[in-house]
């Protein structure tokens, strides 16, 4: 068995959970007391999104900073109170873009904010960064194994070996800033089969 970065955090959580069982406690344990560093935590409701690349790295993403149907940009969540950027796990990264909200599949419109959507940057096939963009077909693409995702249909996998859509991060606009409206919809990353 192996333990990676996130596994170390899980170990702490497991240890605490066992301790709770021994002491007879059965109440849910808040994430913040599980030993997981704030920068490792997945994006939380109320977090603001910041650029993760380019000249504006670290800058808050405003509603007017993204152009329609342009290449998605890498973004991370930031706790507005502590200003902690959640860069402690690559599973926290999202690709954010502005779409025509009227054309977005209706079942995913609740996760969009004025046409802006955010999908996990981690491919569901083998976990590579989904950083490529097909500007003709408006698809996100994985450089590792050519999986393609339809950004207008909830990042549904439409080509290549990816077995599932990319997880979607619900968004809202708060004071002009792209803000996280809830936890990821769908599982982030790949699934190991046995």
């Amino acid at each position: 068995m192996s333990f990676g970065k996130d596994k170390k955090a899980l170990l702490s959580r497991r240890t605490i959970f066992k301790a709770g069982l021994v002491s007879g406690m059965a109440m849910p344990i808040p994430m913040t007391v599980l030993g997981q560093a704030p920068n490792q935590m997945r994006p939380q409701q109320g977090d603001q999104l910041v650029f993760d690349e380019g000249d504006r790295i670290g800058e808050l993403i405003g509603i007017d900073m993204l152009e329609l149907d342009q290449q998605p940009v890498s973004a991370l969540a930031r706790d507005p109170e502590t200003e902690t950027i959640r860069d402690g796990s690559r599973l926290n990264r999202v690709m954010i873009m502005r779409l025509d909200g009227q054309k977005l599949s209706s079942r995913f419109q609740a996760n969009a904010a004025e046409g802006i959507v955010a999908y996990s940057a981690v491919c569901t096939h083998t976990g590579c960064d989904v950083i490529n963009w097909d500007e003709g077909l408006l698809r996100m693409a994985c450089p590792c194994h050519e999986s393609q995702f339809d950004v207008y249909d909830g990042a549904k996998n439409v080509g290549g070996p990816a077995p599932r859509p990319l997880a979607m991060l619900p968004l809202e606009i708060v004071d002009g800033i792209v803000t996280v409206a809830g936890i990821f919809k769908g599982r982030v990353g790949f699934t190991q089969n046995f």
């Binding site: 990676g4 690349e53 450089p143 046995f194």
Partner: protein, 573 residues
């Protein structure tokens, strides 16, 4: 007390009682020794290429050109996994060990196909697998060794599968991973790292074969002040790639290991002006100390993603009536290289293209250093087309050599080419660091007017002449096995066939359609005097990527099913 990178797991030491009934019915395990590794019995397949010289050759000849048409499956085993099943079944006196994608190891009774144990590695959720595969285990003593995709080296009990120890070779989070079969020699277990697309600094590392204690670590990119460092400007050496992702060859006489190295990163050579030693080279490392004894760089300042990671085959051959203590390397750059190895030096002998190659204009007759047609060399903001494609004349699938017929068998791809243009890329640990701009059709095309891609070629190493070629419309990702039965075994095509060829002329003598495409390394072994052929069928990784691009440029939708199965063949009783 255990430190953070080195953990001993003791559970396996107490597990003799928990052997499965299958294991208890097998003969006592025959420990693998240095002597056995240096002189492996023909009945076994103890390492990645069967022997230290990487010949991929067996003297078994019960199955031969006279009877191979009668070959039939005797058992099979589904791995339950997808993606590239590339590992050879490793066989030791009836015990077979097969590694799979996702770092499973399946121990099997080689006679019956019954499972003895299975190791399942639990991989980190945040791992990225650019190449979801594994290329085999190594054996020593009563242990099995696995290099993992999350960059650990694991030692397991060969009878129970219990983990004895595991060592973190590097931090996967920074882009390091491993897919190779470890090399064991001189009391060390040696591994190299992948991750050239992710801004790593490549190396080969050795560990004590019994305890896992680190022995040495030799980087493939010299640090400032070290010889060769002048070939890397600024800080480029820190993130310059040059991975080592295939098992090395070993010369016990010199106690030297020979490893192939990958290209520099980012991919465009203009981001790291200079020769970029020791990228795209063969490097000779002392097995005891890791000292870099010699190198030969096949091409400098790569801009084509032409890794030269296949270890050279150690072959002594004839030139001008003299025997050359040599090395032979069918390069990803499309040239077949003949070199001479001395204890502290590698000399160029000659080289010629074995597929269509339009980049090199000349080779220096003394050093072999190529000159380039610079219009064929992509750069940052400069698009260029070149042949062969970024997958080269031969990618990772190993060639094989029959020392009796003197023929070298190359699994080649011809007539496919690439178009690439570089773009600026910012280094971030563990993130893609290739700097390649998107290109139409994935930057892939087939040369107009050509009718095939895949080839199996045979070359006489003494004359340097090609003996024959067998062609396939499909791409070819098939590792090669040669036997004394005058046979060559290979899959590799997108029609799911595993084939036996007449080694004298390339004629297909037998073929079996399997569940998936075959990119596994075939092996042969014998039990009670009966010869078997074993191979994994399980398409994926770059074979699938090339299929995707071929579908795109041809407007086709050719489908190769995935899912791994171990196949074992023999003649009827």
């Amino acid at each position: 007390m255990l430190n953070s990178t080195y953990r001993i797991i003791l559970a396996g030491l107490f597990c003799s009682w928990c052997l499965s009934p299958i294991a208890q019915s097998l003969p006592p395990y025959n420990p693998v020794t240095d002597e056995r590794l240096q002189n492996p019995e023909e009945s076994n397949w103890l390492m990645y290429r069967g022997s230290y010289d990487s010949h991929g050759y067996s003297t078994l000849d019960e199955i031969n050109i006279e009877n191979v048409e009668d070959l039939v499956p005797v058992w099979s085993f589904s791995t339950g996994l997808r993606e590239g099943h590339q590992a050879p079944p490793i066989v030791n006196d009836g015990y077979m060990y097969v590694s799979t994608p996702q770092n499973h190891i399946i121990a099997i009774d080689a006679r019956t196909g019954d499972m003895i144990w299975r190791y399942v590695r639990f991989l980190p959720d945040d791992l990225q697998q650019m190449h979801p595969t594994n290329r085999g285990v190594a054996l020593y003593g009563d242990r099995v060794y696995l290099a993992t995709v999350d960059a650990y080296l694991v030692s397991l009990d060969a009878l129970t599968g219990d983990v004895i120890w595991e060592v973190e070779v590097e931090d996967y989070y920074n882009g390091y991973y491993m897919t190779m079969a470890p090399l064991i020699a001189d009391g060390k277990v040696m591994v190299g790292v992948s991750g050239g697309e992710l801004g790593i600094r490549g190396f080969v590392a050795a560990f004590d074969v019994m305890t896992g204690e680190p022995a040495w670590k030799t980087y493939t990119i010299p640090a400032p002040g070290e010889p060769g460092s002048e070939s890397w400007p600024g800080d480029t050496w820190q993130t310059g790639g040059v991975p080592v992702w295939l098992t090395g060859s070993y010369d016990p006489e010199f106690n030297v290991t020979y490893w192939g190295t990958g290209n520099g990163g980012p991919w465009m050579g203009d981001t790291r002006p200079g020769d970029n030693l020791y990228a795209t080279s063969t490097i000779a490392l002392d097995a005891s100390t890791g000292e870099l004894k010699a190198h030969h760089q096949y091409h400098w300042n790569d801009s084509w993603d032409w890794d030269e990671v296949s270890a050279p085959l150690l072959i002594d051959y004839q030139r001008q009536g003299e025997t050359v203590k040599g090395m032979v390397h069918p390069g990803r750059n499309g040239y077949l290289w003949f070199l001479e190895r001395e204890e502290n030096q590698i000399n160029f002998v000659d080289a010629n293209p074995y597929v269509y190659q339009d980049v090199f204009t000349t080779l220096d007759p003394v050093t072999g250093r190529p000159e380039y047609d610079m219009s064929k060399k992509p750069g940052t903001g400069f698009e260029a087309s070149f042949c062969p494609s970024l997958w080269g004349g031969k990618d990772w699938p190993p060639a094989a050599f029959n020392p009796v017929s003197r023929l070298l068998f190359i699994p080649a791809n011809d007539n496919v080419c690439s178009t690439m243009e570089g773009e600026e890329v910012q280094f971030r640990p563990g993130r893609p660091f290739m700097g390649r701009a998107p290109s139409e059709n994935g930057g892939f095309f087939v040369r107009p007017g050509t009718s095939h891609i895949g080839e199996l070629q045979a070359w006489n190493v003494d004359t340097g002449e090609k003996a024959w070629t067998t062609s396939f419309a499909s791409q070819n990702w098939g590792p090669v096995l040669a036997t004394a039965g005058d046979l060559v075994f290979m899959g590799g095509t997108n029609d799911r066939y595993f084939r036996a060829f007449d080694a004298n002329n390339g004629e297909i003598l037998w073929q079996q359609r399997t569940n998936s495409g075959i990119t596994g390394v075939p092996v042969t072994y014998s039990l009670d005097g009966k010869q078997y052929i074993a191979v994994q069928s399980g398409w994926g990784v770059d074979a699938q990527r090339e299929q995707n691009l071929l579908n795109l440029v041809k407007g086709e939708n050719h489908y190769v099913p995935q899912g791994g199965v171990i196949w074992v063949f023999a003649l009827p009783d």
